[in-house]
């Protein structure tokens, strides 16, 4: 089975991000980038499928060339090769999905695996749009993936509100991964050394002939309001009163 895994570099979630003075984005200088945790789960799942039934795991990424470091991380985990489409960070979800679709069309995988969302923008859109652009079935928020009928179909268990839902999809399909699908392995030293020799094909965005003009405009970024200190209430009555009139949640 050939699996294409889309990954996205994101700022290390353990680091505090700063917003640019003009509110146009976050300051990325000196911020350590990592593979989006949901994407890591997708890489891990692809590797487990390959270990079970053989095949190939190809990583793809759309973004600035510096993201090659995160691509190498996925290769160090065990992916076979990678395709990196060099682009700015300003692409919206639709544009990214259309670019990924081009890579999918040339690679012809049996399945596309990707994180359900990236932890930077939390858009949760690219997987769904990619399936629509390709005209493929989709199964989002996967917590279990099983193959049926000689890999022509898959049963995907999805984490939905209030429980689990299992759906059958015909392959090829786009599957997006949720947190509980697996625990990703860490890269080993031999894995890192081998990854240096693996192929990373770099494509120019312009060579793909995709219209990436933004349909979404970011108006501005703002930090969350600083939390004011808490206070003590003397009685339940006072609490109810505050919830009603101060917090206005009742």
């Amino acid at each position: 089975m050939k699996i294409l895994v889309a990954i996205k570099p994101v700022p290390n979630p353990d680091e505090k991000v700063k917003i640019k003075g003009d509110g146009s984005g976050i300051v990325l200088d000196n911020i350590k980038m990592v593979v989006n945790p949901f994407c890591e789960i997708a890489v891990e799942e692809a590797l487990r499928i390959k270990e079970k039934q053989g095949g190939e795991v190809v990583v793809m990424m759309v973004g600035p060339k510096v993201g090659e470091q995160q691509v190498r991380t996925a290769l160090a985990m065990g992916a076979d090769r990678a395709v990196l489409v060099e682009a700015g960070t300003d692409l919206d979800s639709l544009a990214v999905a259309k670019v990924l679709a081009k890579v999918v069309e040339s690679e012809k995988p049996d399945m596309v695996l990707m994180g359900k969302q990236a932890v930077d923008d939390d858009n949760n859109q690219v997987g769904q749009i990619l399936a629509a652009v390709l005209g493929w079935p989709q199964a989002t928020f996967a917590s279990k993936v099983e193959f049926l009928a000689d890999n022509r179909k898959a049963n995907v268990t999805r984490e939905v509100d209030g429980g689990l839902e299992t759906i059958e999809v015909t392959l090829p399909a786009v599957v997006t991964t949720d947190l509980r699908l697996n625990e990703p392995r860490y890269a080993s030293l031999p894995g890192i050394m081998k990854a240096k020799k693996k192929e990373v094909k770099v494509l120019e965005l312009s060579s793909l002939g995709v219209d990436t003009a933004p349909r979404v405009k970011v108006l501005g970024y703002a930090p969350p309001k600083q939390r004011a200190g808490g206070g003590r209430v003397a009685s339940v009555q006072e609490l109810v009163e505050k919830l009603k009139n101060e917090a206005k949640v009742l």
Binding site: Q69, T73, Y186, A187, S188, L189, M193
Partner: protein, 385 residues
């Protein structure tokens, strides 16, 4: 990829592994005076301890620079490399001086972790750094050596399968130079313990498995001699620079860890209406120790670079170890002072790391002996011993 990027890649992968063994794990191991078996297994399985073993024998064939980055990150993550660092470098004696057959037999298994070679028997109760006077002897009888003597402060014996042992094969009064007549034997501890070697654990102030060894008519196959008979002292010496650089790196990792903790605490701990870190009396010691760690770090990379280029690096390796051990100890002290009473509370981990890093003012070489090395060998002052 630049060297710096390569190091960054190593750092983030080691950090990722270490993050699965948080403070609470090390605290639990420390309280039980136990061995961090799961951590060592994970580090071994991911190939980190085989960094210095050449590709041909199942390792990754990296240099001492990369190896030092690995151990630095273990200590910087709050762990203690001392439990397993020797698995990385003791094999160097075998690699540089062993026969092809010995290398083929042992190195791949050391690389995979199937065999642990992380004990190194040099120090004796009556001869510390004055190694040439060691009294453990090996006498050749047919196809075996018969070994008698005693060793002390031999680390990780209970968690090793193999040990390199320095013994005198020609009595001191029969050699021209006192550094001659010593040999290195590879001892299979699985066979030797209870049949020639008695192990008596020594309880120490930190959780570090170290032992006294009583060696009584221990038989070692002659084929386990490493290199030539009588040249063992030289073989041991040339592994020591590697050890010093690696331990300097561990101290640097400790130092950064202490500074991270001290700075974080000084920012958040509010006394008299402001963070204690706003007081220069609290800031300056943290800032000064950070400067000292950075300086030690430069010397570590300088020593490692020379080592990796095959240049003499005795002075740099020793100086790096001294600077790093001093800086980490100072950092531990500053971290305790910054934390006040909480610095002594086990749940803050400062006191544990403080005990652990203190060792490196003494082991594997005492700071005083580094000073005499620099005085006599670098500055040409008259020998004091």
């Amino acid at each position: 990829m630049t060297a710096k990027e390569h190091h960054e890649e190593i750092r983030s992968a080691v950090r990722d592994l270490c993050s699965r063994y948080p403070d609470a794990y090390w605290r639990r191991i420390d309280e039980a005076n136990g061995y961090p078996e799961e951590f060592v297994k994970a580090l071994t399985d991911a190939g980190w301890l085989a960094a210095l073993i050449p590709d041909a024998y199942g390792g990754s064939g990296l240099g001492i620079t990369e190896a030092s980055v690995i151990l630095e990150e273990v200590n910087r993550s709050g762990g203690n490399s001392g439990a397993c660092h020797a698995q990385m470098y003791i094999m160097g004696t075998l690699l540089r001086h062993g026969s092809e057959e010995q290398k083929k037999t042992y190195l791949p298994k050391i690389a995979s972790g199937e065999l642990r070679l992380q004990s190194f028997g040099v120090t004796e109760p009556n001869t510390g750094t004055d190694t040439t006077r060691l009294r453990t002897t090996a006498v050749r009888k047919g196809d075996r050596y018969v070994v008698n003597g005693q060793k002390v402060f031999i680390s990780r014996v209970q968690h090793s399968d193999l040990m390199t042992l320095l013994v005198r094969t020609t009595p001191l009064d029969q050699v021209k130079k006192k550094s001659e007549g010593m040999s290195v034997l590879l001892v299979d501890l699985r066979e030797a313990i209870g049949r020639g070697i008695t192990v008596r654990p020594i309880r120490t102030m930190m959780n570090h498995e170290t032992n006294e060894l009583f060696i009584d008519d221990l038989e070692v196959p002659a084929e386990n001699l490493i290199g030539e008979e009588g040249k063992g002292f030289r073989y041991i010496l040339d592994g020591m620079n590697a050890e010093r650089i690696l331990i300097a790196a561990e101290c640097i990792g400790d130092g950064y860890w202490f500074v991270d903790r001290a700075a974080a605490y000084a920012k958040e701990r509010v006394v008299f209406g402001r963070p204690i870190g706003q007081n220069q009396g609290v800031q300056f010691p943290i800032a000064r120790v950070y400067v000292n760690i950075e300086a030690a770090n430069l010397m570590r990379f300088r020593a490692a670079e020379k080592f990796d280029h095959g240049k003499p690096c005795g002075a740099e390796a020793n100086m790096a170890k001294l600077l790093a051990a001093d800086a980490s100890w100072e950092a531990g002290n500053v971290a305790i002072q910054t934390h006040g009473g909480f610095g002594f509370a086990a749940e803050y981990d400062i006191e544990r790391k403080f005990r652990e890093t203190r060792l490196y003012q003494v082991a594997p070489i005492s700071t005083n002996l580094i000073l005499s090395y620099v005085a006599e060998h670098v500055l040409g002052l008259p020998r004091s011993y």
